[in-house]
């Protein structure tokens, strides 16, 4: 495969000289690029994962005049003519790689926050409103753990921080217009339509990133059923197990133990489903609930 011409736009250089190391759960990845702009932008997304040392995997991002390429080692993973696609594309690749590395810890598709040491996870599929709800909770003073992945220690049933920048899609960003200017904005052409994303570091919201694991006390399933009005109600543990398992990203790693792993996480937690007219309303409900 022919790589794109390396002599690219302003900010690019002939060599992949911008290099950062990101780490999670013992895995270190190097991201090197010929574009300072890309290095800085991607660095904003994974800022809290930056580390030092030797990398076990190397991703290269070549920004060119004619097009752009993502590689892992020598393998071309993705080609695009749209610069704006690069950050989300590499984000997905790095996430997938990190999830694979977490072979001994269940990873759920879920937002995760904490207050006063009490962890709340919000399992939902992509587009299910996790980021909006997490943001609204952060604005109420919750600590940030993740807007996408709840990484759980199966023994202590604590949720570990996975503090990637919050990632907003267009509809979600409109719910927080005051935050819009603070985010990293990327856009790309999708056959006449524009794909748009905003990345916000929790510190842009004035929120704290939790440095510690938090015990999972609440599992809240946000729902979008198209009905009016707010509602929060308890659901049975069996139903919660099923719903949580639907968002269990590395279930396969656990084989016959997978059910017991989920049961353990659900264990003593209060399991609820939540419907709210807005993320702010949903966050208020969760906050009030925790205050008892």
């Amino acid at each position: 495969m022919r790589l794109p011409e390396m002599r690219g736009p302003v900010g690019c250089d002939d060599a992949l000289k911008w290099r950062k190391i990101y780490g999670v759960s013992g895995l270190r990845l190097a991201v090197r690029t010929n574009s300072r702009r890309f290095s800085e932008e991607f660095g904003r997304v994974f800022r809290h994962f930056e580390t030092h040392g030797d990398a076990q995997l190397v991703y290269s991002v070549v920004v060119g005049r004619e097009g752009h390429v993502l590689l892992r080692g020598e393998e071309v993973l993705y080609e695009t003519g749209e610069y704006g696609e690069l950050v989300p594309a590499l984000e997905r690749l790095v996430e997938a790689c990190m999830v694979r590395a977490l072979w001994d810890r269940p990873v759920f598709h879920a937002g995760a926050v904490a207050r006063e040491g009490v962890g709340v996870i919000l399992p939902a599929e992509p587009g299910g409103g996790k980021t909006s709800l997490v943001t609204a909770l952060l604005e109420l003073g919750f600590e940030y753990l993740s807007d996408e992945f709840a990484v759980v220690d199966p023994k202590s049933t604590t949720v570990l921080p996975f503090p990637k920048a919050l990632c907003f899609k267009e509809g979600g960003m409109e719910l927080f217009p005051h935050l819009k200017p603070k985010g990293l904005y990327v856009e790309w052409d999708m056959g006449g339509e524009v794909g748009r994303l905003w990345y916000l570091d929790p510190s842009d919201l004035g929120s704290e990133v939790s440095g510690e694991d938090r015990r999972v006390r609440y599992i809240v399933f946000p729902e979008r059923d198209g009905l009016e009005g707010a509602m929060v109600e308890g659901i049975s543990k069996a139903k919660a197990v099923l719903k949580l398992a639907e968002n269990f990203l590395n279930l396969d790693f656990f084989g016959r133990d997978a059910l017991d792993v989920v049961l353990n996480v659900v264990g003593e937690a209060e399991c609820l489903r939540l419907r709210a007219g807005s993320p702010q309303e949903g966050a208020r409900i969760i906050s009030n609930l925790m205050e008892g």
């Binding site: 989300p88 997905r92 899609k169 056959g191 069996a238 139903k239």
Partner: protein, 513 residues
């Protein structure tokens, strides 16, 4: 009893007619007419005895029949009377290596819409490891070399790939006779449609309702209805062969007829409008999407001439945007290989895919006892994605071969196993009285209410329906009739989901309780 001139004769089926036995009933396959007839009651008994070599006289004597009855049977020209015995078994096709006939190329998993039911779970943000242009060309070239002549470009939204048009032209040049693009048609412009007409490409478009608000609610994008309809109009105007797929879910189940009429008014050939019920894959797994009243079940509309072509997926593959090769776009977990350029033949001829292609209903639980098993256009993908068991009966099929009834015969499906027994390889856990069943083979889980959990615990091969009902009544206050209905319903669900052991004990006829 005197049987006149036919008494010493034997009943013979016409050379192109065959009797296939099921657990309760049988079916007569008329391969010349392409029709399947259900055979039950006395006719079934007559044919069964004939197949065991009894003469007309012996059959009449055993069943207390008059000659006239047997003569009437022969009026349909399917059976005749002969001095020689002869009841040929159904010619089950020999297993053979299948050839590649059709490819879905999922060139992207990105989409500008976000449909509630998308089987890929596509959205605007899925640019992971998409195969580059050269790789797709490689797959097209290698597919053609394997004899494949039909290809569909799909996604996500295939037209979001800027190289799609190049790929379509490439497929044409490689000799593909049927080239189709599956699209939501929102990105089509007149220039592109004109090009499609020139190149000779077919187009399939999904439309969910004739009501804009319903269509837009399903696609998650306001204004998508107008753009899709505009696209369809343009395709019709330029005489591009177009077919419409209406996927039925709860949101649009009342709109199906209206949508079909609407599409016809747009100028689409009615024979090119297909209706399918949402498949349990990707976002389509959401149970809230399942239609409430629109029939999800297969009904007896069998038609067969070529007995080697009775299953859906043989000869087909899908290549996902990341290069995974699967036997069907709806069987996303059944990855048979990773296309890396140059290895398509190896995957197609490999044991994994060939095994999937060769599965017959003789290997499938429940279906193996069904008299329609050689005529059923079975969907293994639905069976697998719903139950996690490749060899489970498709939950879309409502026929119960043990009871021999279609659901519409009595309003609902009858028949439950006599002494049901759960599969031993499943893991069951009780939590606050409710239950969860986990199939570690497939990763599928099912939650059970308190009553269902209790029923599951009683599915030990020792308790019959009456025992289970009795146990429930001892623990819960309820009306016996209601409990019986609930238990039957729950057992049917267990069986549909492939949670019960496949073997059955006792006489098939006594399954009805």
């Amino acid at each position: 009893m005197k049987m006149g001139d036919i008494g010493k004769n034997y009943i013979r089926l016409r050379d192109d007619c065959f009797l296939v036995r099921g657990a309760k009933n049988s079916a007569l396959y008329d391969l010349k007419a392409g029709r399947i007839y259900q055979v039950r009651g006395l006719v079934k008994e007559v044919l069964e005895l004939s197949s065991h070599g009894l003469s007309v006289e012996e059959i009449a004597s055993r069943l207390g029949l008059k000659e006239g009855f047997l003569r009437v049977l022969s009026e349909g020209k399917v059976i005749s009377f002969s001095p020689e015995r002869g009841f040929k078994p159904f010619p089950v096709p020999e297993p053979k290596e299948e050839n590649l006939r059709f490819m879905w190329l999922e060139v992207t998993s990105r989409c500008n819409l976000r449909c509630l039911h998308c089987y890929v779970g596509a959205d605007a943000l899925k640019p992971l490891e998409e195969l580059p242009t050269e790789a797709w060309k490689g797959a097209i070239r290698e597919g053609a070399a394997l004899g494949c002549r039909d290809v569909q470009f799909t996604g996500g939204e295939a037209t979001l790939r800027k190289d799609l048009w190049d790929l379509v032209e490439f497929a044409k040049a490689e000799g593909y006779e049927f080239v189709e693009i599956f699209t939501n048609a929102t990105t089509l412009n007149r220039e592109r449609v004109r090009w499609m007409a020139e190149v000779g490409v077919n187009v399939a478009v999904s439309l969910y309702s004739y009501r804009p608000e319903v269509h837009d609610r399903i696609t998650g994008r306001k204004g998508s209805f107008e753009r899709t309809v505009e696209g369809i109009r343009s395709l019709v105007e330029h005489e591009v062969p177009v077919r419409i797929a209406i996927i039925v879910m709860r949101e649009n189940e009342e709109d199906v007829k209206g949508t079909m009429e609407f599409v016809q008014k747009l100028g689409v050939d009615p024979s090119q409008v297909g209706v399918d019920v949402v498949r349990p894959t990707g976002r389509g797994r959401d149970e809230d999407l399942v239609p409430k009243w629109y029939p999800r079940t297969t009904c007896p509309d069998f038609w067969i001439r070529d007995i080697s072509q009775t299953r859906c997926w043989p000869g087909k593959i899908a290549i996902t945007s990341q290069g995974d090769v699967i036997p069907c776009i709806f069987a996303r977990d059944l990855v048979v290989g990773r296309y890396k350029g140059g290895n398509l033949a190896e995957i197609v001829r490999g044991p994994r895919l060939q095994k999937l292609w060769s599965i017959t209903l003789d290997e499938v639980e429940v279906c193996k006892d069904c008299e329609y098993r050689y005529a059923c256009w079975d969907c293994r993908a639905i069976a697998y994605t719903t139950t996690g068991n490749l060899y489970a009966k498709s939950p879309r099929c409502a026929y119960d071969p043990y009871d021999g009834r279609w659901p519409y015969e009595e309003g609902e499906m009858e028949g439950v196993p006599e002494r049901p027994r759960g599969r031993e390889d499943l893991i069951f856990r009780e939590i606050d009285g409710e239950g969860v069943i986990f199939d570690p083979e497939t990763g599928s889980m099912h939650s059970l209410t308190k009553t269902a959990a209790l029923i599951w615990k009683l599915c030990d091969g020792r308790h019959c329906l009456d025992d289970i009902v009795k146990e429930i009544l001892e623990r819960f206050e309820a009306q016996p009739d209601e409990v019986r209905r609930d238990v039957e319903e729950t057992l049917r669900k267990f069986r549909t989901l492939g949670l019960l052991r496949g073997e059955t004990s006792g006489d098939a006829g006594s399954r009805r309780m």
